[in-house]
């Protein structure tokens, strides 16, 4: 589904990603872990099409298509979804109207009929239950005045509505208390299907207790230093990241 080959990315002349290789198949959950500043969020944003980053080398294929040639909106329409680490506030537009615009833009691209207001409202009713979000929050302007937890929950709600094939969750667990974490994780698990995939970017193991990944990758200094199964996450929790750096140097 997603294949990243030797991806190098820089911003303002600083190389942040220094040759990433990653393959994600349908039905899989991958966790990308790593210390602060290792390039995790950069990777998430580059997959979603953020233009402030400069891809200097490498390729990303998504379902056989060259992702780097596509605009952010076309990537979304093709089924990529990024849950933002810091969701943006948009005063002046309600959550409902914003989401209806997004869903209809995606449906039009896919050759489906647009949903009218009534159809849209009945469509999102079920999705609201999934992440235990209430109507009041949907009537409010996008993310404005939301608590940290509400913002993250709203991201997963958007994901539920837009039904992506590949979801990238960027630090979705940060700022969540235990109850909110459970609700968000439950939502993600319920959205899991054999034909979609999820990439979880996090630097704590906590979320992975609830959303269990098939693969764990550790990103350090712009490269994937080590990959493994979910046990790797537990080991990181116990031992931190330094041992990887040391063994890497040892390998050299």
């Amino acid at each position: 589904m997603l294949e990243i080959k030797n991806l190098k990315v820089s911003i303002n002349g600083n190389e942040i990603l220094k040759g990433i290789n990653l393959k994600v198949n349908p039905g899989e959950i991958h966790a990308i872990m790593g210390p602060n500043g290792s390039g995790k969020s950069t990777l998430a944003q580059v997959i979603a099409g953020r233009e402030t980053y400069n891809v200097t080398k490498g390729e990303i294929f998504y379902n056989g298509k060259n992702l780097l040639d596509m605009s952010p909106e076309d990537r979304a329409r093709e089924g990529i979804f990024l849950a933002f680490q810091y969701p943006i506030e948009i005063p002046g537009v309600s959550n409902t109207y914003f989401l209806k615009a997004a869903l209809n833009a995606i449906r039009t691209y896919r050759g489906l009929e647009e949903l009218d207001a009534v159809e849209f409202l009945s469509y999102i009713k079920e999705k609201m239950k999934l992440v235990e979000i209430d109507q009041e929050l949907l009537n409010r302007p996008v993310n404005e005045g939301f608590s940290g937890g509400e913002k993250k929950r709203n991201e997963i709600f958007q994901m539920a509505v837009l039904e992506p094939k590949l979801a990238i969750l960027d630090e979705t667990d940060s700022g969540l208390d235990i109850d909110a974490l459970r609700i968000v994780a439950d939502g993600v698990n319920k959205l899991r299907r054999p034909d979609n995939a999820t990439v979880i970017v996090t630097h704590y193991q906590r979320l992975l207790n609830y959303i269990v990944p098939e693969y764990v990758h550790v990103l350090m200094d712009g490269k994937i230093a080590i990959s493994g199964s979910k046990e790797l996450a537990l080991e990181l929790e116990k031992r931190g990241y330094d041992w990887i750096r040391q063994s890497e140097e040892f390998a050299k």
Partner: protein, 444 residues
């Protein structure tokens, strides 16, 4: 040069004075005389005048306007009125055509507890007690446009909401400039008195039917008694050749609440002044504004909030969206008098630039003489935020649509503060016609 222009207006005044023969002794006429004297003294402002630094009114002085009272105005049809006015407003409606009260397009018979009358009618009546209520708050001292308006005091409207009365539906004042052979100067006066514990909402709406360069020089005076509440909406949608100078004076007594929503969309040069005096403890004053300018329009908002008594709060939130070579000004003065302890005041001014050639001048001015106060102000001028743009695009929304949605949202943050839904709808439609891709947000 400017002296000659000033003289033209003074000569026009002499003619006007002759034409109103017979009612020259009442207090209204004394006011007019004081007005023209003051105008003679002040003359039109130039850029040297601190409060007119960014707004050059010389295009306005190059046109010789005919006073509207001199010309016959053709009535417009109800059909046309329906087409150009705000739809679905159920309240009292009063219409003025080129400044003159139009009986045909105005409602008759008003609910209990409210007096509404055409000012011309009141002025024609010798010495009613209402005369004393005119000109109480409008200050001619240092505003030549207000003194000019006072000199030609004749048309307009008087509204009084009685004690303990709540008027649920808005009072809709429609000022229409229509086609005439020469450019007109139209100078109505609006007087609004909110009695103790009263509650009401007003709409001043300015429309033109043609593309003439008319000049509207309006003065509104508002007095709010104890615990009165007023929502005051000024919607300026005249054509882009029009000149509009407006001054609204508000005097608030204790615990009164005043909200103004100034939506400035039309005009070649538009200057909208608001002077609020918080003259009682515990008053609240909210001034919101949205300016939407394109081409070579100039929209200037001037506000002055005078915290004269303790424990009052004021909030200002002005936004502008500028396209083309448009220019806009925000000048926000806040005085906190020595006695006005525990004043809580906040001023915000945000501008969205849609082109590289648009210009915004913003100037907060705080003069604080009390020591226990909370006063903040902030201004931001910028293009569409790239983080917001990416957020929308990452949800499948095209770049063009995202830009229009964000522009609409920027404006809507002010429009949402208007509690009268038909106005919101009217303004949304204007936004949708300018930012077409935002139409996806319509409730359909």
């Amino acid at each position: 040069m400017i002296q000659e222009i000033n003289d033209i207006y003074i000569q026009q005044y002499r003619l006007f004075e002759q034409s109103i023969n017979g009612v020259r002794h009442n207090i209204i006429h004394q006011m007019r005389r004081k007005g023209i004297k003051q105008f003679e003294k002040l003359g039109f402002p130039t850029n040297k005048h601190e409060e007119w630094r960014f707004t050059n009114i010389s295009p306005l002085t190059r046109i010789q306007f005919t006073p509207a009272y001199q010309v016959e105005t053709q009535e417009i049809s109800e059909e046309q009125f329906y087409k150009i006015s705000i739809k679905n407003i159920n309240g009292i409606k009063l219409t003025f055509l080129n400044g003159k009260y139009s009986e045909k397009l105005s409602d008759k018979g008003f609910p209990k507890g409210i007096d509404v009358a055409s000012l011309a009618q009141i002025i024609r009546n010798e010495n009613t007690s209402i005369h004393k209520l005119i000109g109480r708050f409008a200050n001619n001292e240092n505003n030549s446009f207000t003194s000019l308006n006072t000199s030609f005091l004749l048309e307009g409207v008087f509204i009084q909401i009685h004690e303990n009365i709540e008027i649920k539906e808005p009072i809709y004042l429609v000022f229409i400039t229509s086609d005439t052979k020469t450019p007109l100067i139209i100078q109505p006066r609006i007087v609004i008195m909110g009695g103790k514990n009263s509650k009401a909402s007003i709409i001043e709406h300015y429309i033109s039917t043609e593309d003439n360069s008319n000049f509207t020089n309006i003065v509104s005076e508002i007095g709010l008694d104890e615990n009165a509440t007023l929502e005051y909406n000024k919607i300026q949608t005249e054509n882009n050749n029009a000149f509009h100078i407006g001054s609204t004076y508000i005097e608030q007594l204790s615990k009164s609440r005043f909200t103004s929503n100034s939506i400035m969309i039309g005009g070649s040069i538009t200057r909208n002044n608001i002077y609020a005096t918080l003259n009682g403890e515990g008053t609240e004053c909210y001034l919101n504004g949205l300016s939407l300018a394109s081409g070579d329009q100039l929209i200037d908002n001037y506000t002055s909030i005078d915290h004269a008594k303790p424990n009052c709060s004021s909030r200002e939130f002005y936004k502008a969206i500028l396209n083309g070579k448009a220019r806009s000004v925000f000048n926000g003065k806040i005085y906190v008098r020595k006695d006005a302890q525990k004043t809580d005041s906040k001023q915000t001014n945000k501008t969205l630039l849609l082109s590289d050639d648009a210009i915004m001048n913003t100037k907060p001015q705080l003069e604080i003489f009390a020591d226990d106060v909370k006063c903040t102000h902030g201004a931001a001028i910028g293009y569409i935020d790239s983080d917001s743009l990416f957020y929308l695009r990452s949800r499948g929304i095209s770049e063009n649509m995202a830009r229009d949605i964000l522009t609409y949202a920027f404006a809507n943050e002010i429009i949402e503060r208007i509690t009268i839904e038909p106005i919101q709808e009217y303004l949304h439609n204007i936004l949708f016609s300018r930012f077409k891709n935002a139409r996806i947000l319509r409730n359909e």
